[in-house]
């Protein structure tokens, strides 16, 4: 028993010091919640699938099909009337995309939907290279030469006025290349959207609803991760970059989303409202408010510094949307002339990130898995 005594003589003081060392209480933010409190995940997933995701893809599918039809008509006989019709189809499809943008998992992830249809700002040189080479491949997720941003350029920015734009599509030299590129572009977008839509129709809905739990790859983790990734894109690309908030106040008005058509503001508002509705579990028309992340936070009774976390998040969505709505002009104009106002929108948008990306996953015990761990841990 000699070794035992020796061991105890050392161990007991060590244990005592350990206890005292760790005694300083941590009360940060509020107490732990029971993140495993009862909540019907399946019912929430079902609501999100049936009232948000599938309607969003159904609408997008319709709008993109219409886009292909109008592109067909325009390329068959380029005219101002056809150009206007095509632009209308483009605008409604682009807005529809904002509603479908947060769901980059499952079928959408398989075809890199988000990167394929909305990498912006457009790299005009790279786009022009594709056109000149008559290469109509859009398989590089990291390339910025395709999707809605390329359409925005082709239909609004490729020449000074409508007549000049039509000329770009008219003749059998350059015009033909532009027509072919336009058709190839919208067809590629349509195929990817169709793949996603069909995926949800043919089994992924059930996979999604039944994929309960908290670990990486569960539907809860997918929703929260993608809500955040999408939200960060809104914060950084749609608002932050043009405002100059990340470039010492030097603004970049031409880096807004859809700079040529001037749709940036409505696109940003739609994207933010989509984030808000995904959080609330509310359908696009605001008619159904089913189970959402708000209800989940209420179920675990998440509090932050004395306030309900859910309330903080809801208030912040309202604040962000209000400041964005009060902007007098397009985001590009605002960046040029009322920079301070745009920076204010950026700051409000950024405030929400802490709630959505750090607090919500923490109190629901879901890890942010898009930072995949390239290592062991201990």
């Amino acid at each position: 028993m000699k070794a035992f005594k020796w061991y105890l003589n050392i161990l007991i003081p060590l244990i005592l010091s350990g206890i005292f060392g760790a005694c300083d209480p941590i009360t940060n933010g509020g107490d732990q919640v029971d993140c495993n409190a009862a909540f019907d995940q399946q019912a929430m997933f079902q609501n999100i699938a049936d009232h948000l995701i599938i309607p969003a893809y159904t609408d997008l599918q319709k709008k993109v099909t219409n886009l292909v039809e109008e592109a067909d008509a325009f390329t068959a006989k380029p005219s101002v009337t056809q150009l206007e019709a095509l632009r209308n189809a483009f605008e409604t499809a682009y807005i529809s995309w904002q509603v479908a943008s947060p769901y980059e998992f499952g079928p959408a992830e398989e075809v890199f939907l988000r990167n394929s249809v909305n990498n912006f700002p457009l790299d005009i040189t790279a786009t022009q290279t594709l056109i000149d080479a008559e290469k109509y491949e859009f398989d590089q997720p990291d390339a910025f030469n395709k999707g809605f941003p390329a359409l925005d350029y082709l239909l609004y920015g490729i020449a000074e006025d409508n007549e000049a734009i039509i000329t770009k599509f008219a003749d059998n030299g350059i015009g033909k290349r532009h027509r072919q590129f336009l058709l190839a572009l919208v067809t590629d977008m349509q195929q990817r959207v169709a793949h996603t839509f069909n995926g949800w129709q043919n089994g992924y809905r059930e996979t999604f609803i039944n994929n309960t739990g908290k670990g990486a790859g569960t539907s809860l983790s997918l929703i929260i991760n993608q809500l955040n990734q999408n939200y960060e894109l809104i914060k950084r690309e749609k608002i932050g970059v043009p405002s100059g908030a990340m470039t010492l106040g030097f603004t970049y008005p031409d880096r807004v989303e859809a700079p040529y058509s001037g749709l940036s503001k409505i696109l940003a508002i739609t994207a933010l409202e989509t984030s808000q509705k995904l959080y609330l579990g509310m359908d696009h028309n605001g008619k159904v408010n089913g189970l959402g992340l708000d209800d989940y936070l209420e179920a675990v009774e998440a509090q932050k510094e004395g306030e309900a976390l859910n309330q903080l998040i809801q208030n912040q969505f309202e604040t962000v949307l209000n400041t964005l709505n009060t902007l007098p002009n397009s985001l590009a104009e605002t960046a040029r002339n009322e920079t301070e106002q745009l920076i204010e929108v950026y700051k409000e948008t950024a405030r929400q990130v802490l709630f959505l990306k750090t607090d919500m996953p923490a109190v629901l015990c879901v890890s942010i898995t898009y930072i995949d761990n390239p290592s062991d841990s201990d």
Binding site: A3, F4, Y7, L11, L14, I15, S17, G18, I19, F20, G21, A22, C23, D24, P25, I26, T27, N28, G29, G30, Q32, V33, D34, C35, N36, G213, K214, G215, A216, R236, G240, A245, M246, L248, G249, A302, Q303, K304, E305, L309, A350, V353, L354, K357, T358, D359, A362, V363, C365, S367, I368, Y370, I371, D372, N373, P374, S375, D376, S377, D378
Partner: protein
């Protein structure tokens, strides 16, 4: 030496436990190094990042470039193989220790307690005569063969393992672990898909059972391994415990390191039995090494350091789980689930222009995640930004502040760093970081 310690230090004992340890350690390290390269981690962890976080005092360690990295890993793998074979043993142990430690020092982002343990074992092996039997060295030079060694050569390894387990156990004696079952109450329910066992992980009491079980295991397992009557049972627990952690957590080689190295607690007879069946015995004659006084002092210094280093957090105010001052090199394993967000702001005091930093422009996602929860990394990052903005933007004295919030063990987040402090004007030291806010 004090007489009471005689039996632990200079008594002659069989070399057999040391041989098993050497062979298994060398083999495991060789496999581990190859696995690391095979997983593509050399690229992802060392070639992709543009900047690296440093351990205090080791800022001079540089990433040696692509060729250099592959060379370092090749040296580590080959020297580990040589340790296993007992070939040019002294050279091999020195090379392995240096290459492995250098790799670990390049980027503190990748710090893991078990890498630290490997460094310590490698360091100790340099001084241990673990090649004096069953080795290519003794085949080359039969006069090296030795069947007995002084007891300290084995007891130092037992001591090291006891320190690891005991400190890991003491670190678990904190309110979150014991009374909230945190962070296991977060982690276990993520594994409900494991057959049979997974079913139980949904229950809170299972998290408590695992928390208390883990703490008691860590605090007592070394003692049960020391005792003859309990040893076999304790070793089964070792296999069960580490097998379970292997199943549940992404902890790489650590379970195997512990399962293999705890064999050192078994008596010589056990080891000679294993060895006899695998390799023909080469015990020719008995000789013994005596401890030189320089080694004597080194040994004492090493042991003291191992006993004191894990408790240095007591010198700092606040909770170590929150401040992370004194967190590393102290066997704090799997204690916290932390996530955070750190947004850096830079202001030019002369023009008044300011900017937010996109961390991803400088850091990999993994580095960003680690930086967001560790104050000393934030300071290093701020100093990197300072240099960057001085050079690229001509801002002489940028004011760098950070909005850093972290969430600890499923609590809502709270601010970690004083948002008004200019990190560019602060230099790291061993002194308490007063700009870390109270939790």
């Amino acid at each position: 030496m004090l007489s009471c310690c005689e039996s632990y230090i200079s008594r002659t004992v069989s070399i057999a436990p040391l041989i098993t340890f050497r062979i298994l350690f060398g083999a495991l390290m060789m496999l581990g190094t190859i696995r690391f390269a095979y997983q593509g981690w050399i690229e992802r962890l060392y070639l992709e990042p543009k900047l690296f976080f440093k351990f205090y005092g080791f800022e001079w360690v540089q990433m040696p470039g692509e060729m250099g990295m592959y060379l370092l890993f090749t040296v580590a793998a080959i020297s580990a193989g040589m340790i296993m074979l007992g070939l040019f043993y002294r050279l091999a142990t020195i090379l392995f220790f240096l290459s492995f430690t250098y790799i670990e020092l390049i980027d503190a982002t990748n710090y893991l307690n078990h890498y630290y343990l490997v460094c310590l074992f490698a360091f100790l092996l340099i001084f241990l005569p673990a090649h004096r039997a069953y080795s290519l060295d003794t085949w080359r030079k039969p006069h090296l063969v030795q069947s007995h060694v002084p007891a300290w050569t084995i007891n130092i390894l037992i001591f090291q393992l006891t320190v690891v387990y005991t400190c890991a156990g003491i670190a678990k004696l904190n309110p979150d672990w014991l009374f909230k079952a945190m962070p296991l109450a977060i982690w276990l329910p993520e594994h409900t898909d494991i057959p049979i066992l997974g079913y139980f992980f949904q229950f809170k009491w299972v998290a408590y059972l695992f928390s208390w079980g883990g703490a008691i295991y860590d605090l007592s397992i070394a003692y049960f391994l020391m005792h003859k009557r309990t040893r076999l049972f304790a070793y089964l627990l070792v296999i069960l415990f580490h097998g379970m952690t292997y199943l549940l957590f992404n902890i790489g080689l650590f379970p195997f390191i512990m399962i293999f190295s705890t064999l050192i607690f078994f008596p010589a007879s056990f080891h000679t039995n294993i060895l006899r069946y695998t390799i023909p015995p080469s015990f020719h004659h008995t000789s013994q090494l005596t401890l030189r006084s320089s080694q004597n002092y080194l040994l004492i210094f090493f042991c003291l350091l191992q006993l004191l280093l894990p408790f240095r957090h007591l010198l700092y105010p606040g909770n170590v789980l929150w401040t992370e001052e004194g967190y590393r090199f102290a066997w704090r394993v799997m204690l916290v689930e932390k996530n955070g967000q750190a947004i850096f702001h830079i202001k030019d005091p002369t023009t008044g222009r300011s900017t937010d930093i996109i961390n991803g422009q400088y850091l990999t996602k993994f580095q960003e995640k680690q930086m967001s929860i560790q104050p000393d990394f934030m300071l290093q990052f701020a100093h990197h930004l300072k240099k960057e903005y001085q050079m690229k933007h001509g801002i002489e004295q940028p004011i760098i502040t950070v909005d850093a919030h972290i969430s600890l063990n499923a609590r809502p987040s709270k601010r970690l760093i004083d948002p008004n402090i200019n990190l560019a004007a602060i230099h790291d030291s061993f002194k308490p970081k007063e700009w870390i806010l109270k939790p």
